[in-house]
């Protein structure tokens, strides 16, 4: 019983991280129709930049949350730059988008290897959250519970942003019908940059928050990108609720699959995605067939 409960909490924690990663991916995919294959690299870059400040590699040792904020802003800037300078030139050309995003992810992976080396970096959990929470006989690390809380807070904030603000209404209009949104005077191209920066920042934030659990290592990008893809396909592109539900489902499948069916763990992970693609191509909560 304890085993199952611990596994369930771990699954939800991992699902929370996946939500932070895939919410931006889903918005970018839904709004700009760009398969952003750099998303795993943005996650890894955020993790490395954050870890640099937490460990104090440059001689500057920062508080965990300050480092997370810094990494988020830095990677959001990079995302905005990549969108403005490169992706903007390739509207509707999926092959070119695939080529550019893959090229950038090769460069990011090699850059990380060059700067931080091949050894994994371990990031300490922030000192305020090192303890454990007891529920009767059950013991959970505070940090894992904190990740769940953070993911829920971010989800609510994103929901408010999308549903209750003018910017959110413009983004939703852009996702539903970009041509019509342009006609009524929404500057969709400006939205692209904002959404790309937001998505990149969220991915980087997920990277540094996940640092104490996953550690930071070369190849982290290749591990996370397929998971984000599965989440978005399961949940439906451009749908926040879809990302949230999809993340929790994938979190469960991933953790339980690894524990129960190690030989077929990846098969089990990608099978539901395939079923959704075949039976409900728009995803569980999506409105468009990609």
């Amino acid at each position: 019983m304890t085993f199952w409960l611990v596994l369930a909490v771990n699954s939800i924690t991992f699902g929370g991280l996946l939500f932070l990663l895939s919410a931006g991916f889903s918005l970018i995919f839904g709004l700009m129709r760009i398969p952003n294959l750099t998303h795993g690299s943005l996650f890894m870059l955020g993790a490395y930049i954050g870890a640099t400040f937490v460990i104090g590699m440059l001689g500057v040792k920062l508080n965990f949350w300050l480092a997370a904020l810094l990494a988020t802003l830095a990677v959001a800037m990079m995302g905005a730059l990549a969108e403005r300078l490169l992706l903007r030139r390739l509207p509707g050309d999926q092959m070119a988008q695939v080529l550019v995003t893959l090229g950038l992810s090769f460069m990011a992976a090699d850059f990380c290897l060059m700067v931080w080396g091949g050894d994994p970096l371990s990031v300490n959990t922030p000192s305020t959250l090192t303890g454990f929470a007891r529920f009767g006989a059950l013991v959970f690390p505070n940090y894992r519970l904190a990740i769940i809380v953070i993911a829920v807070i971010v989800a609510i904030a994103l929901w408010l942003l999308l549903e209750r603000t003018r910017l959110g209404a413009m983004i939703r209009a852009g996702v539903d019908d970009p041509d019509m949104a342009r006609v009524v005077g929404i500057r969709v191209s400006q939205l692209f940059t904002i959404v790309f920066a937001l998505g990149a920042g969220l991915a980087a934030f997920a990277g540094i928050i996940g640092g104490p659990i996953l550690s930071v290592y070369p190849g982290l990008d290749q591990d996370m990108l397929p998971l984000a893809l599965v989440v978005v396909i399961l949940g439906g592109t451009g749908s926040l609720l879809g990302s949230f539900v999809g993340s929790i489902i994938v979190g469960f499948i991933y953790n339980f699959g690894q524990a129960l069916l190690p030989e077929l763990a990846y098969f089990v992970l990608f099978l539901p995605m395939l079923l959704v693609l075949l039976l409900r191509p728009q995803g569980l909560f999506g409105r468009h067939v990609p």
């Binding site: 030139r89 092959m95 075949l278 990609p290």
Partner: protein, 327 residues
């Protein structure tokens, strides 16, 4: 036209005499790699270039044939039986892959093929009793067709060259055939093709099978070249690399994938010996190609060449008494 035939003749002579002037066995092996990866890229080009169907899971299909070859040989079958069985397994895998992925086009097709590729990779990586997991499978010997031992680098090169030329010829015939024209029609105007009475799905399916055949052939050459197969061969990076070969050289052209294959293999094997950061270089090359030559290296160079040619002609015709014969 005669210029083109002359160029092809020169290329043919260069390829046939390559082992005699190439400096060392190492470079002959690099040339073999370029040739079998070119077959792979030509196979993907059928879908990505001529069909408008960007597949990001082709390394999975490549891996299925490679593993099938290795597994058959490990069971003790001869080379001929193993190769034929592996090609059949590869084609069956491609048929299933096509049945699943052709339900969609555009980004949907990219995503389904990516998922299928990842499933195959996951199976190769984790189904240890069949594939040996991370340890991979090794192939002990190379075959000796008609008494030529392929263990020798030069002989292997010539065998690869023959298969490569046959594949290129098959591709040329395919592109010029009614089926090839119909496939390009389904890429550009699927709705109009349906109205004209073409069965768009069937045309795409046949194209998938042809692509799968070329992929399987290159996989057999690959597995005999490296004499080893591991899950890394099926990874997303491998699928990405072949796709990059196709797009960087020029999708939808006959020569593009060959140039792309040469580019990627040379950077991966030769340049990596001098520059430690070759992966960064490869990524930078791809970004640069998209920005400077979005149509790919081969069509891009042809365009630049024509522009320069036209400029020269224009200058010639503005001269007093200049050539008016060439409009």
């Amino acid at each position: 036209m005669s210029q083109r035939i002359f160029a092809l003749l020169v290329a043919f002579v260069v390829l046939v005499t390559l082992p005699y002037w190439m400096a060392g066995v190492y470079y002959v092996n690099v040339a073999s790699q370029i040739l079998f990866y070119a077959i792979f890229a030509i196979g993907l080009n059928v879908l990505a270039g001529y069909g408008g169907l960007v597949s990001l899971g082709h390394a999975g299909l490549f891996g299925v044939t490679a593993y099938a070859t290795g597994y058959m040989l490990q069971l003790g079958f001869g080379h001929t039986v193993s190769i034929i069985a592996a090609l059949i397994v590869g084609l069956i895998a491609m048929a299933i892959y096509a049945l699943l992925s052709l339900r969609s086009t555009g980004i949907g097709f990219i995503m389904i093929t990516l998922a299928l590729g990842e499933i195959l990779w996951g199976l190769a990586y984790r189904w240890i009793s069949l594939t040996g997991g991370d340890n991979g499978l090794s192939v002990k010997t190379r075959p000796e067709p008609f008494g030529f031992p392929l263990a020798d680098a030069n002989t292997f090169y010539y065998a690869t060259l023959v298969v490569f030329l046959l594949s290129l010829a098959a591709m040329t015939i395919f592109v010029r055939s009614p089926l090839g024209a119909a496939l390009m029609g389904t890429r550009d105007q699927p709705r109009r093709m349906t109205t004209l009475g073409y069965h768009v799905w069937a045309i795409r399916f046949y194209a998938c099978i042809f692509s799968g055949l070329l992929t399987a052939v290159s996989a057999v050459l690959f597995v005999y070249y490296t004499q080893f197969i591991s899950p890394q061969t099926l990874a997303l990076t491998s699928s990405a690399e072949v796709l990059l070969m196709v797009i960087s050289g020029g999708a939808g052209t006959l020569l593009g994938p060959i140039v792309g294959s040469a580019l990627v293999v040379v950077v991966k094997t030769v340049v990596s010996g001098y520059i430690e950061r070759w992966n960064f270089l490869l990524g930078a090359i791809f970004v640069a190609i998209v920005i400077l030559m979005p149509e790919g290296l081969v069509p891009g160079s042809v365009r630049l060449w024509r522009m320069a040619w036209r400029k020269r002609e224009r200058r010639a015709s503005t001269l007093p008494g200049g050539a008016e014969a060439n409009p």
